[in-house]
């Protein structure tokens, strides 16, 4: 008898797991928020609707940090050179060929002696020779990136350059140049155009006064003035002012600036505290008046403004990541996957996790599906029925139709016909087949609700199948990220102590792990891909699906092999003093496995991105044929291009 669960309709236990995986993205609002911090009619109108809220912004200048971490493998980088790409496909296929040579059915047991390895690499070299002699660029799969990862200091440097340029051209202070750039979304040419067209108007607009409007007494020394914030009489020498000349005591300035910085990005266009005074509080004044922590936050806002005003830059959404990615448009294929130095892979276009080979729309569709309330309801509908005695929703776990309601009810009934279980048994055709139901069906008394339920069930079964695997690969990927850290902090340290291996010599281990992480990511998305592949179509579509599943299965076992090799075999070299020779062999074996797996996955990604087009014309989908298909297809290509 199987466990039966009571579910209240709200509890949705099963979906908790789903919700955890629900993409945690919240769009972090970008440059749209006006940096015109002060009063405008626009903001007033907005405010009035919601009453008193003054739209205080999160005090923390850093943007939201998501939990996501991951990596996009080096091969995901855009190659603008088509030929180059084709060649890579060809070589990858060649690698698959040779792999077939090496690892056949009992791949796990295969021992890799030198001959194998030499044979393998010989074969690869041959193919390279056929393809092109420039194997350096092939090996360096990074090829031509469509993006650059920038450190915060890089961005700061660029920002500083822009500021210096404007400051030089307009002969104004850097602080004033910063004010101008802030007002023109960091477009230096706009600043220059506007400035030279009408300097006076621009000065007024941005609040850079040429002459003070408040004239301080000539002899500053011991003169006291009333600070109109604290109402204390303060010596002028203890006061401060911006270009307008309105004096306030230093203490009040510090607080005034601090509150503004606390309030958010509006501090970048902070104005003089005087009534309706438009004079801007520039960077130099902040430097003069603000506390150290406030100054740091101010600079953060300044950088943030610079990045957010520029469409070429995006902040890496990785948790606590400091890097910025610059994307350079103009490649011929649309690949938005970006890999940050923090190993977080994300899609430049939709800012979700990197998702090749699936496109942004599919990702959005899939994520929506995973989070949709409707799906949950359908799940409940399919997996629960009310107990015929007490009416509580009962979840069917699996297996047979014999349901037992939770205590205190304890009613036993048949899931199929909702009849009392006591009446089931030999008479109804055995416990596993309720022929009450079958009879009804045969007699056409078949319940329509049951039909709907059935269909919903089928749909859900399919969804669950793909979802579980998608989520499973995601958690494996996360685990692999953790494992990599352990590998680096523990195993690699031990290896270098034990064997005196240099970091460069141990890099193959990191490479293998990064490859595993990347493969998990790709594999994960192939399940979203598979979910949307047409199912009940014509023969062509069926064969496509079959081929897809074959490729996916192969990918899985490739990855498994690599994973196994690094996870298990590495222990042999951690403790005992194995001969150096063996360690070298291990390195060679793992490196080549990494390459082979990487190539396979790269090939897979391309095949899926092409919509498995080449296969659709062909029919059968048995693994043998499919396998030869992908080989012949790619080698045909190879011949066409290089023969």
């Amino acid at each position: 008898m199987h466990i039966v669960e009571i579910l209240t309709w709200g509890s949705q236990k099963q979906n908790k797991e789903k919700n955890n995986l629900k993409h945690k993205r919240e769009k972090w609002t970008t440059g749209e928020e006006s940096i015109e911090g002060r009063t405008t009619r626009q903001t007033r109108i907005k405010d009035s609707g919601c009453g008193r809220s003054s739209g205080r912004e999160s005090a923390k200048p850093r943007r939201r940090k998501s939990q996501k971490k991951g990596r996009v493998g080096s091969f995901l980088h855009k190659t603008s050179d088509r030929q180059h790409r084709e060649r890579r496909v060809f070589v990858a296929a060649a690698a698959m060929d040779s792999e077939d040579y090496m690892y056949d059915s009992d791949a796990e047991e295969t021992t890799y002696d030198d001959d194998d390895l030499y044979y393998y690499s010989d074969k690869e070299e041959e193919n390279i020779a056929v393809g092109d002699d420039d194997d350096e660029s092939r090996r360096n799969k990074k090829a031509k990136q469509s993006y650059i990862v920038l450190k915060e200091s890089d961005i700061q440097q660029r920002q500083e350059n822009d500021i210096t340029e404007v400051s030089n051209v307009l002969s104004i202070s850097k602080a004033a140049a910063t004010v101008l750039l802030l007002n023109y979304n960091w477009r230096a040419c706009d600043v220059q155009d506007e400035w030279f067209a009408d300097e006076e108007r621009i000065r007024k607009k941005v609040g850079l006064f040429e002459k003070p409007v408040f004239l301080l007494p000539n002899k500053l020394g011991k003169v006291e003035l009333t600070c109109s914030i604290c109402y204390e009489n303060v010596r002028v020498s203890m006061m401060g002012w911006v270009s307008c000349g309105h004096p306030f005591c230093r203490e009040c300035w510090e607080k005034y600036v601090s509150v503004a910085i606390e309030d958010g990005v509006g501090c970048l266009t902070l104005r003089c505290p005087e009534h309706r005074c438009n004079a801007v509080v520039d960077r130099d004044s902040i430097d003069l008046f603000a506390k150290k922590e406030d100054k740091e936050r101010y600079l953060q806002y300044l950088i943030r403004s610079y990045i957010e005003s520029n469409k070429r830059y995006k902040w890496c959404p990785g948790a606590d990541c400091e890097y910025t990615v610059e994307f350079c448009e103009g490649g011929d294929d649309e690949c938005y996957d970006v890999c940050c130095h923090c190993n977080n892979g994300f899609c430049w276009n939709c800012m979700d996790d990197a998702h090749r080979p699936v496109d942004c729309e599919t990702v959005a569709k899939w994520q929506l599906k995973n989070s949709s309330e409707a799906e949950n309801t359908a799940w409940l509908l399919v997996n629960t029925k009310p107990c015929p005695k007490c009416g509580k929703a009962i979840e069917k776990n699996q297996g047979c139709m014999h349901m037992t309601c939770r205590k205190p009810c304890g009613h036993e009934f048949c899931w199929m016909c909702l009849g009392t279980w006591k009446e089931h048994g030999e008479r109804t055709g055995g416990f596993y087949a309720c022929n009450t139901f079958q009879k009804n069906e045969a007699e056409g008394k078949y319940n329509e609700d049951e039909d709907i339920r059935k269909r919903a069930e089928k749909h859900l079964e399919k969804y669950t199948h793909y979802y579980e695997r998608w989520a499973g690969n995601e958690s494996s990927r996360k685990q692999a990220v953790k494992d990599l850290k352990q590998m680096q902090n523990d195993y690699m340290v031990r290896l270098s102590d034990l064997r005196g291996a240099t970091d460069a010599e141990l890099k193959f281990i990191t490479d293998a792990w990064l490859q595993i992480i990347e493969c998990r990511r790709v594999l994960k998305w192939t399940y979203a891909y598979g979910y949307y592949l047409p199912e009940d179509g014509d023969k062509k579509e069926k064969s496509k699906k079959g081929f897809f599943e074959y490729l996916q299965g192969e990918a899985e076992s490739n990855l498994e092999r690599l994973h196994h090799c690094i996870e298990k075999d590495i222990h042999n070299y951690l403790n005992k003093e194995r001969p150096e020779e063996e360690f070298k062999n291990f390195r060679a074996k793992l490196s080549s496995l990494t390459t082979v797996t990487g190539n396979y996955f790269e090939n897979l990604v391309k095949a899926l991105e092409n919509g498995l087009e080449d296969t659709s014309s062909q029919e059968a989908c048995s693994s043998q044929e499919a396998s030869s298909k992908i080989k012949s297809r790619t080698s045909k290509k190879g011949r066409k291009d290089y023969g």
């Binding site: 911090g37 009063t39 007033r44 009035s48 003054s54 914030i229 604290c230 109402y231 005087e274 009534h275």
Partner: protein
């Protein structure tokens, strides 16, 4: 906290000293709490509020004067920028245009100015805003006058 107290105390002394300086405004501090103030303001002449006396309540934040006080009408008033039910006021200087150089006294002055010059484009009271925006000045004025008479003038008898 200390700074806001000191500043409010100065404002309090100023108010005491110049009680007669502005006959349209009577500011008073709560006996037990320097962060609670009330004000009586006279409806500006040549407006539907003329002749009325309106009470305002101030709640002063600890960050004052770096942050603005919260002010609302205690007396019912029909005005496009005042919430009819709560008395909440929509005025830029009480929100993002606040300057620490403002005082409670000057806030009162700004509110009187707002009574004389409504801003129908940012209404908190949609009815009166609509009347004004649709150009029905007379309709608006008669409503505003009626409420002034009902709520802001001493009852006859």
């Amino acid at each position: 906290m200390q700074a806001s107290r000191a500043r409010l105390f100065k404002e309090y002394k100023e108010v005491q000293r110049e009680k007669t300086a502005d006959p349209d405004i009577q500011l008073a501090c709560d006996d037990s709490n320097i962060f609670k103030w009330t004000a009586l303001i006279k409806g500006p002449s040549e407006t539907p509020y003329e002749g009325g006396v309106f009470q305002l309540a101030f709640a002063v934040p600890e960050q004052y004067p770096l942050q603005p006080p919260q002010v609302r009408f205690l007396t019912k008033i029909f005005h496009p920028n005042v919430h009819f039910k709560t008395g909440e006021i929509c005025l830029d200087i009480l929100k993002n245009a606040w300057s620490p150089a403002w005082t409670l006294q000057s806030v009162c002055r700004a509110i009187i100015a707002l009574m004389a010059h409504p801003e129908p484009d940012s209404p908190l009271n949609c009815d009166s805003g609509n009347l004004l925006r649709s150009g029905d000045i007379r309709g608006f004025q008669s409503m505003a006058k009626m409420y002034t008479r009902l709520a802001a003038m001493p009852k006859k008898g």
